[in-house]
Structure formats: structure tokens, C-alpha cells
């Protein structure tokens, strides 16, 4: 938590004969993050690929082209194939497949192109069918220029009046006009100008002879025949697919793994007699590598730990407890943190559901989201990203339910009890009397909502600046102290805003009793605004600190802190906005359901309610609240401390799903 897994810089050295075995061993373990060797010199050069690489590459190229021809990229074999079988069948199968598929795929492609071509011709011919003139008569005259095309508006009148000796045929269709115009060559430019004004688009007629009507019919027939051919080829391909798909996918996986290993030397420094593998490994697994190398490489390769040089990029493997882990998704979406940086996943784990829950703040929607999240996790077990997303939605939905139940006391935009000010409003009292009363009313306690948002923002930003302090402390004490100056500004601004807000909402018990009590009431009126002296003092001290530690240029960003704080008002804005829309819908639909007395209307009303609710839950609610909740983290929070750009820990490893190897 907060810190990634501890890494140790290691070097594996060995004699060149043991390179194969070492690579095999490292892939088997899957814990060494290789650093690519790039600086070649006289002594050490990048290694040669293992001898199998060329042959394997050739096969893979063929195989992948076959996969493409057969369109089986997404095929998933039912069971894994044994590597022995793959090896023994490979050559034979490749020959057969190569012969069968490529020619079939080729002719399929050709027929498809032909069909497209013919369809294009039909498209070109169809507009001129009504004229019933043989196609060859449309152009090819010595002294006549012909225009065939589609205009937005009818140009006949303009043409006949302005161009001498022209013949225009027009066929008006739904939204445009098909125009055929014959003009003496002299009037060509004038005519094309007029046509352009009418939005003329030329139709390129195919070089055919005869009645367009008949030709179209013929073309249709030809297309039918071609499609029949296509179906036959498709059937043939299907047979091949049935027989070989499993084998092909398994082989592709196996060969890809082979090539991965065979080309690893390209990332390694080798000399005539030895090799050096540079890398990182999780500290607690170094010994594991040592033992494995000893047993698998017969003492020809060794691992040494070295103390890293300063500038080196340590790969980052985030380390978080299982419930927090899904929120790493959000981190990876932006950038991997640097090794020395604080990993903010834990904060996301806390704040995201809170923000999200506050914005949705509805038991009904919340529970729907819980169900949605659970369903995603259940349906998409194989996709790690979707699994994480499911967990995030689940957590958000849970917090939304909590807020909905205990704070806002409402479900599906309908309160448990009608508000005191408006006893006639629809509520769940119609169905059941839930013994929970709202602490806050979205619509009526808007100032409190904003204040709570700002408090959340204040806490969130404080954590952000603190992280910034911790991140900077090891390499720049000055910058670290600068963060404290920023904190002072933040505290001052926050206190001042609270004072103003408290002033504006004097009636609010929440504001006065909870938020304002810690701030000493020493204030003065300035230009009509109540300014708290302690707050002012904090801001001044902070600004001075910023000038000293970060330079005068940083002053421009003081406004930024203010913006950041206000930005949290979006929490309230989303909650209020969403609440208002839900109320509006319910206001329109409820009378239909309860008061119409007509069962059909009632059912329609319920349906409309469901549709609108679904819309709000999944689009406005989940999507935009999610975006807002994550934005507050990305923009307001991360920018205070997060640099990112770290290297993700990606050890030498592979995954066998469709092929098995037994020793």
C-alpha cells in the first residue's frame, strides 16, 4: 500500500553455452524484468537470435496469414493441445493449409471485389433508368459535352435560359434531381458552372451498351451468381476451419512462445564467450531465481545483486491488498507511478466510491449498480480490465446505496418520506413506511451540499499536498517545504470560503455547528465581504512561503488552488442536477401511474419510468458521476504530487492457454 513492491537490481551472467537454458529458466520463473541492452561496444553486442528463430518466424508468418484468411483471430480452442502433437503435425498441416486457404481466400477476395464493382455499376445506372435511353448514348460525342449526375435543385431552367443549344432531362426524386444535360462543346464551361451552383455531382457511367434497365437486371443476376460462388467458398473454408482452427490457434500460441524465447538474446549483451542479463526482480524472489539457475543451468550461470545507479528506472509493481487492487485500473489509465512515488491507489479506493456514492446518492440506483457490477464480474471473467471495472462499479454502487439509504433517504429519485415543506410530494410512504429520515435534502439544502463538497475537496487536496511533500522530500527539501506553503494557502482559502458560505447560509445548522466552529470568529468586512483574519493570515504566510521556496512564477497558480477547491462543488452539482431531473420525471409520470385509473396508462407509465430510470442510472448516473469522481482524482488530486511515467514491471514470462508441455 502506498509504496510499490520492493525491487532489487540483478545481473545474470553466464557462459554463452548456457544462454538457452538460462532464458528458458527465467521465462519459467517469470519474475525477472529485463532491461534492454542498447549501448553496443567492441566487447559486447546484442546477442544473435537462437538458431530456431528463422524457421519459426517463417512458420509463424504463414500461420498468421492463414489465421487471417480463415478469420479465426478470436477462435478459442476448447482444450489445450500437446506440444508434441503440434510439432509432429506442423509441417504437413502448413503445406495443406497453405495450398487450400490462400487460394480460396484469394478467390473470395476477388469475387467480393467483383460484387462491389457490380454494385457500384448498379448504383451508377439506377438514376438513369427512368430516362430509358441506352447507356452508350449518354456520352462519347464529338461536338457535344454531356453531363450526367445528381443535383440538389433542378437546374433545367437555368441551363436552358443561359446556355445556348442545350438539352436537359431532369428526373426529380425524393430529395434531389437526376440531371442529364447535353451541351454544345462551346457552352461546356458555362454549363458546368451553373450545374456546380446547383450542387451537381457527376455520376461516372460504366462503359456498357444497352438499356440501363436490362443491364441492371443482368448485373443483379450476376451478383446473385457470384454470391452463390462466395457461399460455396465460404463452405469450403468452414470445413477447413472445423478441422484446423484448434490446431492453428494452439500452434500460433506455441510458436509465439518459442519465438519470444528465441529472440530474447536480442535484448541481452553478449560477447564471444559470455552473456550479461541486466534486470530487476522483486527483492523477496531473488533467491528463488538463484536456486533455479543453479539447478537448471548446471552452474554455468549466476545471479548477482547490484546496487542500482541513481538515474536508473526501477520497474514498478503496485502492491495493494485485494479489495484495493481493482482501483489500480485508474492508475494504469493515466500512467504508472515512479518507483519512488507514492502509489495513490488506496486514496482512490476510498475517495472514488465516496464521491461517486455522494453524487448518485440513491438506494435504488445504487443497488442497480451493485447488480450491474456483479454481473460484469461474473460475465467477463477472462478480461482482467473488465473484472476491475466491475469491482469499481460494485464499490461505487454500494456507496451510492449507503448514501441513498442513510443520508438522502431516497430510492429511484423518490424520497422515503415527503419533505416537511411539501407534504404532497410523492414518496415511498405509499408502499411502505421506512423508518429512515433524510439528513440532507438534495434540492433544498443545496448550500450545505456545496459546503460538504468543499470540505471533501479540502481534505482531498490536503492529502494531495501531503503526498507531494513526501514525494519531494528525498530529492528536494526546498520543494517539499514549498508544498507546506501551498497547504497554508489551501487552509486559508478554505476557511475564508467557509466563512463566506456560512454568512450566506446563516440559517443552516450544519454549516454553523459543524464546519465553522473550529475557525476563530475574528473577521472584518471588506468590500462587502466578510473576511476572516486568521484565514487571511494563513493565505499571506502561504504566499510568502511559495515565493521563497518555489519562486515568484508559482504565484500564478495560487488562483489554481481556489479553482481546485471550487471544482469540488461538482459533487453537489451532480447530485442536485441528477436529483432535479429525477424529480421532474417522477413529477410527470407518477400522476399517470397512480391517478389515471387506467391500467394501460399505468403500465405504460411504469415502463416509461423504467426506461428513464435506466437511462439515468447507466448514462447520467454511472457514466458522468464516474467521470466526475475520477476527474477530481486525476486533475485536482494527482496534479499535487503525481508525476508518473514509471516503467511497469513486466517480467520475462508467457502464458500458455491452448498448448501444454509435459516434462
Amino acid at each position: 500500500m502506498l509504496k510499490p513492491e520492493e525491487m532489487t537490481r540483478v545481473v545474470v551472467v553466464g557462459s554463452i553455452e548456457s544462454l538457452d537454458a538460462t532464458i528458458e529458466c527465467l521465462y519459467e520463473l517469470g519474475v525477472l524484468h529485463l532491461i534492454d541492452f542498447t549501448e553496443q561496444d567492441e566487447e559486447f553486442r546484442i546477442g544473435q537470435p537462437l538458431p530456431t528463430a528463422s524457421d519459426t518466424s517463417q512458420k509463424l508468418l504463414k500461420l498468421r496469414s492463414i489465421i487471417r484468411s480463415l478469420e479465426i483471430e478470436d477462435h478459442k480452442p476448447a482444450r489445450a493441445m500437446h506440444v508434441h502433437d503440434i510439432r509432429s503435425r506442423m509441417d504437413q498441416a502448413l503445406v495443406t493449409l497453405d495450398l487450400n486457404t490462400s487460394s480460396k481466400a484469394d478467390s473470395r477476395q476477388k469475387i467480393q471485389a467483383l460484387v462491389r464493382e457490380k454494385e457500384g455499376e448498379i448504383r451508377a445506372l439506377e438514376p438513369i433508368v427512368p430516362f430509358a435511353i441506352p447507356v452508350e448514348l449518354f456520352d462519347g460525342y464529338d461536338n457535344l459535352s454531356s453531363f450526367v449526375g445528381i443535383c440538389k435543385t433542378d437546374p433545367s431552367a437555368a441551363l436552358t435560359s443561359k446556355v445556348a443549344e442545350c438539352e436537359v432531362f431532369a428526373d426529380a426524386r425524393k430529395s434531389d434531381v437526376v440531371v442529364v444535360a447535353f451541351v454544345k462543346s462551346e457552352g461546356r464551361t458555362e454549363a458546368s458552372k451553373i450545374l456546380a451552383e446547383h450542387g451537381f455531382q457527376e455520376i461516372k457511367l460504366p462503359k456498357v451498351k444497352g438499356d440501363p434497365d436490362e443491364i441492371v437486371v443482368q448485373l443483379r443476376k450476376q451478383i446473385k451468381e457470384l454470391e452463390a460462388d462466395l457461399a460455396r467458398i465460404e463452405a469450403d473454408l468452414d470445413a477447413i476451419r472445423k478441422q484446423f482452427a484448434d490446431f492453428i490457434i494452439s500452434s500460433d500460441e506455441h510458436l509465439s512462445i518459442e519465438i519470444l524465447k528465441a529472440e530474447t538474446p536480442l535484448r541481452i549483451a553478449t560477447s564471444a564467450n559470455s552473456f550479461i542479463i541486466d534486470g530487476w526482480a522483486p527483492s523477496h524472489r531473488v533467491d528463488e531465481i538463484r536456486t533455479a539457475l543453479d539447478t537448471m543451468c548446471c552452474g554455468l550461470a549466476f545471479i548477482e545483486t547490484v546496487s542500482p545507479e541513481k538515474s536508473e528506472e526501477t520497474p514498478v509493481k503496485l502492491k495493494n491488498p485485494k479489495p484495493v487492487k481493482p482501483f489500480e485500473f485508474f492508475i494504469n489509465l493515466v500512467s504508472t507511478p515512479k518507483y519512488e512515488e507514492i502509489d495513490p491507489t488506496l486514496v482512490l479506493f476510498i475517495t472514488f466510491p465516496l464521491f461517486f456514492g455522494f453524487m448518485i446518492g440513491d438506494l435504488g440506483f445504487g443497488l442497480s449498480l451493485v447488480v450491474l457490477g456483479a454481473m460484469i464480474r461474473w460475465k467477463f471473467k477472462s478480461s482482467p480490465d473488465l473484472l476491475k471495472l466491475g469491482a469499481i462499479i460494485l464499490a461505487g454502487g454500494f456507496m451510492a446505496s449507503v448514501f441513498g439509504l442513510f443520508v438522502f433517504a431516497e430510492a429511484f429519485g423518490v424520497p422515503f418520506h415527503p419533505p416537511v415543506e411539501n407534504p404532497d410530494e410523492h414518496s415511498w410512504e405509499v408502499i411502505a413506511n421506512i423508518p429512515i429520515h433524510p439528513l440532507l435534502d438534495k434540492m433544498r439544502d443545496s448550500m450545505e451540499m456545496i459546503a460538504i463538497s468543499l470540505v471533501a475537496g479540502w481534505i482531498h487536496l490536503t492529502v494531495g499536498f501531503t503526498f507531494g511533500f513526501v514525494n519531494h522530500y528525498p530529492h528536494s527539501k526546498k520543494h517539499a517545504v514549498g508544498k507546506i506553503a501551498w497547504l497554508l494557502v489551501l487552509f486559508g482559502l478554505f476557511a475564508e470560503m467557509m466563512v463566506i458560505a456560512g454568512d450566506a447560509t446563516q440559517t443552516s445548522h450544519f454549516m454553523n455547528s459543524t464546519v465553522l466552529s473550529p475557525i476563530p470568529d475574528v473577521s472584518a468586512d471588506m468590500i462587502g465581504i466578510k473576511v476572516s483574519m486568521p484565514a487571511l493570515g494563513l493565505i499571506v504566510a502561504g504566499v510568502l512561503g511559495i515565493v521563497v521556496f518555489e519562486g515568484a512564477m508559482a504565484l500564478t497558480e495560487v488562483v489554481g488552488v481556489f479553482t481546485n477547491l471550487v471544482s469540488y462543488a461538482r459533487l453537489a452539482a451532480m447530485a442536485i442536477g441528477k436529483g432535479a431531473v429525477a424529480v421532474a420525471f417522477n413529477f410527470m409520470l407518477f400522476p399517470m401511474i397512480f391517478e389515471s385509473g387506467n391500467i394501460v396508462v399505468a403500465i405504460l407509465g411504469v415502463l416509461a419510468l423504467f426506461v428513464s430510470q435506466a437511462f439515468f442510472v447507466f448514462f447520467i448516473g454511472a457514466l458522468s458521476s464516474g467521470i466526475q469522481a475520477i476527474r477530481l482524482n486525476y486533475v485536482e488530486f494527482f496534479l499535487k504530487f503525481f508525476e508518473g511515467g514509471g516503467t511497469e514491471f513486466s517480467p520475462l514470462s508467457y502464458e500458455r492457454k491452448y498448448s501444454v508441455i509435459t516434462k
Partner: protein
Amino acid sequence: MWFAGNRGNYAYACTRVKAKKRFLLSRDVYSRLLVMDVYEVGRFLGETQYREEMAKYASVYSGANLVEVAVTRNLANTYSDILGFTTGHLREMVGNYLKRWDIYNVKTLLRGKMTNVRAEEIVDTLVPAGAYTEAYLKSLIQSSSVSEIMDALVADAALAITPELVREVVDAGRLAPLEDHLDQRMYYDLLKVVKGTVSADKLLRDFVREEIDVTNLKVLLKLKAARIPEDKIVKYLIPGGMDYSIEKLRALAQAEGMPPIIEELEKSSMYADIREPLERFKTDRKLSGITIALDKALIRKSEKFAHFYPLSVLPIVNYMIRKKVEVDNIRIIARGKASALSTTVIEDLLVV
């Protein structure tokens, strides 16, 4: 932007191109490719941006041919992709810049046709990214004779092919005059279409003029090194360069031998980029080092331009150049490997 006429989707296109740029192969990758054999190179590329084309052509070609065809097609696809996602005036500019591939295609087509290359093979080495569609080029290739192709090309006023050139090609079988005519014509047209009056156009125009400079310098170096007299050199020069006017180039052509050009280059804005090969030229008299350095200098310039004007056509042009260079590099590696050239020789040919 929607409120300022149809200027084009700069934000979208430039960021998209910038994202594309991150997928260009890095120097480290080249050094690894140099160690691989041609099949491994093919397979490796099949796992990068060239995946689609590699898989598509692996059934027809193999070895260096496969790599060459696949990367060339990928280049064509990338270009039409870029042209496809730009809009408005931006699209026009990109389209104009891409017209050079029309020239390339016409040249390749005629060359292939005259040397009896298989039709499919010609088609696969084309880069249909300009105004000529692939279908049109295919129909040209299917024309039975060179003279028929020339007839079709003469009809295109943009190419401005004179009857004299047709005679050279059809009767004498000499392509050279036509090739040079087309290359000059391309720049001539480009400068005509991309006027300096619109500010967006001006950026592109300036860059094209820099490009003309580099092209002219290369031609001048080549011809001077071959001791061609001034009156013959002049007809190969392209007017409109940025730093080197025709007059200036003519003076250089007139001057005795190579030293004046070398001196001129030492004063040029690209000197920092070409210093080393220039020094080397003084001892080994090999031009190719300088020309590669000039190409690199132009790329660097376009990089700089793209950086100065991040929301203009220049980042897109920059990417298109970089992509072409990458494709050239890959082809050089594959072909070089196939003809068993040594790694150091291949390395020297790369523009990295």
C-alpha cells in the same frame, strides 16, 4: 472549427497523427532488426503496425519481397487513412502534399511496364495515396502497351506531358526525360496550388520550398560531381526554393568543380546536420553520405516546424515523411539482408 468556416479538424487530426508517431520504430528496434534474418524481420513487423498487411501478403510473397510489399502497402494505407480522417482545408493540403505519389506511381508503372514486370507485382509496389485511385492505376497497368498508358496520361492536364516526351518514351524507350519532367512538375503544381496567401497554406508552402532546396542541392551535387556542364544542369533545377534561388544555383553550377558548393553548404542553415559527411566527402568523394545527411536535415527541419506549429498541417506532413523514411529503412534492411550485405553497410544506408 465549426464557427470559422471549413478550416479542417486540426485538433483531431494532429493529435491522432501525434499518437501514430509514437508507433514509429525507434533506433533500438533498428539495431535489433539488423541482427535478424529476413524472415524474423517479417515476423517482427507482423507484430507491429504492419500486422494487417504482413498477414495479408504472407500467402503470396515471402522473404524480402513480402516485407517490401507489405510495408509499401502499409504506407499507402496509412496515407489514405490520414487523408480520410482530415477534413476541410486541412484535407485539401494533405491531398496536395500526397500528389507526389501520383508521380511515383506513374513512374513505377511505366518502369515496370517497360521492363516487363508482372502486373500484380507492379500493383503491389504502388502507393495509391494521391489523386489516382488504385482502380485507375490498375486499369492503366492492364492497358496492353506503353503507348496506351501514355495516351491516358497525356489526357491529364495536370501532368502537362508534351508530345515530345511521349515520343521519347514510346519511340525511343527513354523514360528519363519524362521522369525528370514529372518530378519538376510536381513541385511546380504544388507551389501553384498552395498559395502563400492563406496563413495555413503558407506554412506548408514554406516547407515545400525547403524541400525544393534539398532536392535542388542533391541534384546539383550529383551533376557537379559527374562534371556535367552548367547549361545541362540548369534544366534539372526546380524554381521556388527557399534559400537557394535558381540564380544562386546557376552560379554554383557555373563555378569550377565541387569546392564552391561545399563552401555554400558550409554556410547553409543545415550545416550542423551535414557537417560530418561534408568533411568526409573532402577525402572520400562519396556523395551518398551528404545526400542522406541532407534528407535527415530536412526531416529535422520538418520536426522543428511541426513543433512550432502543433496545430497545423506540418505535424501531419512531418509524420508522413517520417513514415516514408521508416518504410524505406525497413525495405533497405530486408533487401540488404536478402542480398547478404554486411550489417555495417546496411546501417550506413539507413536514415535514422
